[in-house]
């Protein structure tokens, strides 16, 4: 009707454009961030690649004095602690999720869910503090006991401080438990009631139903949840840094001090003085970044497929 747009109309139009621009800018910025991270880490670590090339990935000597850097001990440490923690925590995570989905009434499940979110919300450094002063002494006692059991003098004599791979694995298992349990629970809750009731009506016990109806139904999303938890464990920094012992050699047993990619950076970055040392630590960060992006995107895709199915 109005041939001439009124002033308030024009103002609204400006606001509309600004609004759209803000949305697009923020969205583009978010995606660009990933590229920016990749570029920045890639560029600042180039002197490490110039010195060691691909052999950085499989050389096992990490020596700041001779300036020889190979990431294999950290890669091994990361994989051992990550998969070890996942192995220990998965049965419990499944148990907790099944308990909350199928056994507990609302009066029990609501507070338990709240406690899970509480445990999941505790900062990494708090777990580290607890791990260092409570868990590590226990692990140390276990090492002494185990050393006597297998009659290993070396173990009793030297490696009994408690810090090392085992302490890191146990602490990580506790830390990812609330995360994986709540992700698995989410997928269990969408199993259609008709399917469960159908099985129960055929005379299946509750566990028969869980084992043969529910778990197969959520198989894909459970895998997705576990992959996401693995991603968490691989990148977890402070807690691991505080209990793993900053060992630079290739670990030979679970009791050895070691390093993960993340803990090596946290432990050594401020002490690193030479450019190659710094670049090599950034290179560890680049490896960790690429692994975490791949794992997270893969897990999301698996999860999405699980839901669609």
């Amino acid at each position: 009707m109005a041939a001439q747009p009124s002033r308030s109309d024009r103002r609204e139009l400006v606001r509309e454009r600004a609004f759209t621009a803000a949305g697009v800018t923020a969205a583009v910025a978010l995606v660009t961030t990933i590229v920016l991270f990749l570029l920045e880490l890639f560029v600042t670590s180039r002197s490490s690649r110039a010195a060691f090339g691909w052999s950085f990935l499989w050389h096992s000597e990490w020596n700041p004095v001779t300036e020889k850097f190979g990431a294999l001990p950290m890669i091994v440490g990361t994989l051992v602690t990550g998969f070890g923690a996942l192995l220990i925590s998965t049965p419990f995570a499944l148990g907790i999720a099944i308990f909350l989905a199928d056994y507990a009434g609302k009066k029990v499940s609501e507070p338990v869910k709240y406690l899970i979110s509480l445990l999941g919300g505790l900062p990494s450094v708090i777990f580290g503090l607890w791990g260092l002063f409570v868990l590590v002494p226990l692990v140390s006692k276990f090492e002494v006991w185990f050393g006597k059991l297998v009659g290993s003098e070396a173990l009793v004599a030297s490696g009994t401080t408690g810090v090392g791979l085992l302490a890191a694995i146990l602490l990580l298992a506790i830390m990812i438990l609330p995360f994986s349990a709540s992700l698995i629970l989410e997928s269990l809750l969408v199993v259609p009631t008709e399917l469960k009731e159908g099985a129960l009506a055929l005379g299946a016990t509750k566990w028969d139903t869980i084992q043969n109806v529910e778990l197969p139904y959520v198989r894909k999303s459970t895998v997705g949840a576990l992959v996401l938890s693995l991603g968490r464990a691989l990148g977890e920094t402070m807690a691991v840094t505080m209990v793993i012992g900053n060992g630079m050699k290739m670990p030979r047993s679970l009791f050895d001090p070691a390093n993960t990619l993340a803990s090596a950076i946290a432990n050594q970055f401020l002490e690193a003085t030479s450019p190659v040392y710094i670049a090599s630590l950034i290179q560890l960060g680049l490896i960790l970044f690429v692994i975490s992006i791949i794992i997270n995107i893969a897990a999301r895709i698996i999860l999405r497929r699980g839901v669609q199915q």
Partner: protein, 278 residues
């Protein structure tokens, strides 16, 4: 009893036991923080900066100030980006780029905190040749944006489409629909999400190690090195002095209290949203 039924009972006990175990572990951790934390707590702990090496007493006022400043500035930087990215994704559902943005936010949420820290160092600290609280805030903002974006999107998706359609039918533009209908309806939910994200970044240590760096003094200038509670806990816990280790527990107690407070606020708001919806 048949084998099936025995198995049924055994598994029932086992799943309940795993839930009990989780609660037990949480209880043990919280108990340790409480018992060891309150021992050293006194008024000075909240109001004094650390004393010089070797002298007793002192507190973590410097770290408390740092945690508040660094967290608030990070949230101030991250909120507009996170919220608008969330609005974009919610308003463009089905669009391929919106999917990519959502996936990008998920991927960013999974980036290890130490990588954020090292990025903060190379991107800001190395460039400007100085450790600063501001570089820590920027690093934390990179963790704040993706969580905020996802929460905003999720909460906006909860707004009944009937409400929005009614506004469109009255001739409202998209910006005014999103703002006056979407954001206002979802305000409590979004605020709750912001508080949860703040609780998360307030406890982060790794992004601060090479950016905020830490300081023994009460520092208000964002361009200078600054301490923060998580950082102080890490430094004290790794120190060989029992007096400092004790302070680490007390600082942990204060940090957990702060985080619980933020989370309680968030939960309270969520409860209100759900009540309004029902």
């Amino acid at each position: 009893m048949t084998g099936r039924k025995i198995k049924n009972s055994v598994m029932g006990v086992l799943v309940a036991a795993s839930a009990v175990l989780l609660i037990a572990v949480l209880a043990v951790i919280v108990w340790h923080i409480f018992i060891s934390g309150v021992k050293y707590l006194n008024w000075n702990f909240f109001t004094k900066a650390p004393t010089p090496m070797g002298e007793s007493g002192g507190g973590v006022f410097n770290a408390i100030v740092g945690t508040f400043l660094i967290t608030l500035v990070a949230a101030a930087i991250g909120t507009p980006f996170g919220m608008f990215a969330g609005i974009y994704v919610a308003e463009h559902r089905g669009l391929r780029f919106a999917d990519i943005v959502r996936l990008g936010a998920d991927a960013l949420q999974g980036v290890p905190s130490i990588v954020i820290g090292i990025f903060g160092y190379t991107f800001l600290v190395a460039r400007f040749r100085s450790y600063s609280a501001l570089s820590a805030s920027v690093a934390l903002a990179f963790m704040f944006v993706p969580t905020t974006a996802r929460v905003t999107e999720e909460v906006l998706n909860l707004v009944p489409s009937g409400l929005k359609e009614a506004a469109y039918a009255l001739g409202a533009r998209r910006s005014s629909v999103v703002w006056n209908v979407g954001i206002k309806t979802a305000a409590a939910g979004i605020t709750s999400g912001l508080l949860t994200s703040m609780a998360r970044i307030a406890g982060e240590t790794a992004p601060l190690l090479f950016t905020a760096f830490g300081s023994r003094y009460v520092e208000w200038n964002m361009l200078r090195p600054m301490s923060a509670l998580p950082l102080q806990i890490y430094i004290y816990a790794s120190s060989p002095y029992p007096a400092l280790q004790q302070q680490a527990w007390s600082a942990a107690f204060v940090l957990v209290l702060l985080i619980l407070l933020l989370q309680y606020g968030a939960k309270h708001l969520i409860a209100r949203v759900l009540r309004v919806k029902a």
